[in-house]
Amino acid sequence: MLTQLPAGDWTLEAAAHLLNRAAFGGSPEEIQRLHSMGHAAAVRRLLNAGEDEDLFPAPEIEPMKVQGPRNDSMTPEELAERRKIMNAQARERTLEARLWWIQRMASKSYPAREKCVLFWHGHWATSIQKVNDPFFVLQQNQTLRAHAFGLFAPFAKEMSKDPAMIRYLDLNSSKVGHPNENFAREFMELFTLGEGHYSEEDIQEAARAFTGYRINPKTGGFFFSRKNHDAGAKKIFGKSGAFDGDATVDLIISQPECAEFLSAKIWNFYVGEKPASPMNQVLASEYRASGLKTGDFLERIFLSREFYSPKYRRRQIKSPVQWLIQTCKNLERPMPDPKTVHNSLDQLGQVLFAPPNVKGWDGGRAWISSSSLLLRYNLAGTLVRGGSDAAPDMEKILPEGTPPPQACELLAWRLFQAPMNPTLREKTLHLLEKNGNSQAGRRDIVHLLMSTPEFQLT
């Protein structure tokens, strides 16, 4: 089992590591506040922070189908026009939903839940590109949020009935006699067990159990079509019975590989490295011991000595979403305007509600190319200099007259939550001595420190 972090190791650096990984980082003041709570209380605070739902009501988006019912007497021109309007609406609403979520991630004081929702979004990857209706992706996002820290079994059942998922993995055309295997296959391969832990027969039989899952066209919710469901006997993982979809989910997630697969994926997301086999066994038994309750499992991780091991600190490449939000928090500035947010994430390769495929984002090194790195460097300049009224307060970041050595410490802590390497420090000192007297000069230095390989890590 995981071991507890000794109380003496709960340092400011440890608190920063926790805030960066469990959430989206913060200002020096926020790190200080988290640290002063003490380790256990800090973890509890992160995982149990009250929901400020009222501050962030989800945008009210209705299912697209309900908007303008198709009429059989429509001419081709009218149909084309209707399609055009609906596409434009869908684009606009998707953008709205995206910005709402980003704001939500950025604005809560301890957004550990939102970080976890981001994990599950990459796990149950579903894209607006095929789902084609912002109502469904937003509805799915709320489902992810409701179950993020909860038990995996009810979560998985809910996801099998999630309309966006039903559409994305073709469940809506799966019926008795003609089961579509897409969902059953991805459910085992990508959502629960990993490749090689099931047979083709398991997939075919499970696909029969998920037949009849439909979307209610009026409400946009789930609808079970009994006449399309295959109620016959199935044989899955060696067990026979007239399993329905829920029973099949239970059968699948009771396979021993499920806890191993999920715990490794969760660990990789938060720690930045796939666990080696012995570690994976430890994690799997922790996850099993929690009854596959993700919030409890995360609490065990965040309290563990292993999570704070020096070999994991400052080694994770920030995802574009992490980079953007953490940078704004580090600089204590608001999120940039919606267009900048959207275009940045688009060009950096992480468009929310549009993962590249059902495997989700590869993450890690795949975030970085020479083009995306230069883009990060240039975006950093935009965020430091602020645009209109959103420029960070330089007096807060680096008060005028701070002697260069102290200025180095302040900047290193704010931007890296770690000391600079000697060369970087020496260059920074030199530039501070030369240009640190002017506010514009200090802004340059902050931008330059963010335009480094080191700043891409957390």
């Binding site: 084309a80 994770q316 590249p356 795949a366 083009s371 790195l373 390497n421 340059d444 390989p453």
Partner: protein, 434 residues
């Protein structure tokens, strides 16, 4: 930075070859490092200036180009039956054979054909065609079977299997994002639509010179920072291959060097032909300057959008064909004046052709197989592939006679001199257009 590459070579000679190195060399320098002894000074420069080696340009006609109105089968009555309002009469086409003519706006391509620099492969597609733009584009980019979702691109696999250790600008895509065709476990290739985007931007800095010095010194190992001494001092850094910081440092160096190179070329070169003013022409103009300026790039990727002609197709398609034709003509003239036309092979593709039967809105819906163009100084001209049937259709769509991966395999094997199987995962019959 003009002499940066030279200085780096000196640095490599003096430091890296001389002593033990404790960190990974930037990816694209590995080859230089290991072959340095064997390399004469001038051949090293030749590699760096890219004055040899074949270049491939992939042009995507995005949206699904109407193949039937691009290469018009005017000899086939079925064409006129299916296209009562959209069909282009034989007399109006630019005739290539007794059965086939080019769209009337493709005058430049007709000249290229007549001078022997154009090949057309007809009936290109893949089994079980998918009519989604998104999915079919993905299939073309990844060269996968339509039943398989593959995340890495065919060019990415080519870079991976055949160009290890080469310059990161081995692939250049003109656009804001790298195409999926470039996707690889460790992505390579650069993408930008305007050269000034692919540049560390210090125009808002208060002291640009000081800022530039600083930036280079921490992102570029000329400064000596990356000599191994200070790396590893950052808390949490673990030694060994696969370290994230090391990877970032290499990529950052790659970015600085290739963006310097692009900027230097743009500063030094001028367009060698008069280009029309549209986005495709801008992209091709940029590509021509990068080729002329000596980028070590082997594959360029450009796109022209707007081909999704569901309604009122005639005028829109005419405009697209004219844009395509004038841009390609200027591009070829430019390459000829540079003396690089023989080094270049351009292939076009579209994610699908369009339905044979026109629709009720004066347009066409998503279809399947379609022709594609291959042009360049060394192309073996002609029309390849059997004429597709317009009466034996699959769900109203043309059935392909040539798998698009045969075209890829031909380009890989006969043009880029690369083995096919590591890239396409199996072999495909080769064509003879090169």
């Amino acid at each position: 930075m003009k002499h940066a590459l030279h200085t780096r070579r000196e640095f490599l000679r003096t430091s890296l070859l001389g002593g033990a190195i404790s960190w990974t060399i930037p990816a694209f320098l590995e080859r230089t490092f290991f072959t340095l002894d064997a390399m004469a000074a001038d051949s090293a420069i030749q590699t760096a200036t890219g004055k040899d080696g074949p270049i491939l340009i992939v042009l995507q006609l995005a949206g699904g180009n109407d193949g039937l109105n691009t290469l018009v089968p005017f000899g086939d009555d079925a064409y006129f039956r299916a296209r009562p309002t959209l069909a282009i009469p034989g007399g109006k086409t630019l005739r290539l054979t007794d059965h086939l003519g080019l769209h009337p706006k493709l005058v430049g391509l007709k000249s290229l054909h007549d001078e022997g620099h154009l090949a057309i492969v007809q009936g290109v597609g893949y089994p079980n065609p998918n009519r989604s733009h998104f999915r079919s584009t993905e299939i073309w980019h990844t060269a996968s079977d339509s039943s398989v979702t593959e995340k890495y691109g065919w060019m990415g696999r080519y870079f991976d299997s055949c160009c290890k250790g080469e310059d990161p600008s081995i692939g250049v895509s003109i656009g804001s994002q790298p195409p999926q065709a470039f996707a690889a476990p460790e992505p390579r290739g650069i993408s930008f639509s305007r050269p000034e985007q692919f540049r560390f931007d210090l125009k808002n800095a208060s002291d640009r010179n000081a800022a530039d010095d600083f930036f280079r010194s921490v992102n570029d190992f000329e400064s000596g920072q990356m000599d191994g001494g200070s790396i590893g001092m950052l808390p949490g850094h673990a030694d060994g291959e696969g370290d994230a910081l090391d990877f970032l440092q290499r990529t950052s160096l790659d970015a600085v060097m290739s963006s310097d190179k692009v900027a230097e070329i743009i500063k030094r070169t001028r367009p060698g032909a008069s280009y029309p003013s549209n986005r495709l022409a801008d992209s091709l103009n940029l590509v021509a300057r990068l080729i002329g300026g000596g980028m070590p790039t082997r594959v360029y990727y450009v796109a022209q959008g707007g081909y999704d002609t569901h309604s009122n197709q005639t005028g829109a398609h005419e405009r697209l064909m004219a844009e395509l034709d004038s841009s390609l003509s200027a591009f070829c003239a430019d390459l000829k004046s540079q003396g690089n036309f023989d080094r270049v092979l351009l292939m076009s593709f579209s994610e699908f052709g369009r339905r044979v039967q026109e629709n009720a809105s004066g347009g066409t819906d998503h279809g399947a197989a379609a022709p594609l163009f291959v042009l360049g100084g060394k192309v073996r001209p002609g029309i390849y592939g059997a004429p597709p049937s317009l009466t034996q259709l699959h769900d109203g769509d043309i059935i392909h006679n040539i798998d698009f991966r045969s075209v890829y395999a031909t380009v890989l094997s006969k043009w880029l001199n690369a083995p096919v199987e590591p890239v396409l995962k199996r072999s495909f019959p080769l064509l003879s257009f090169v």
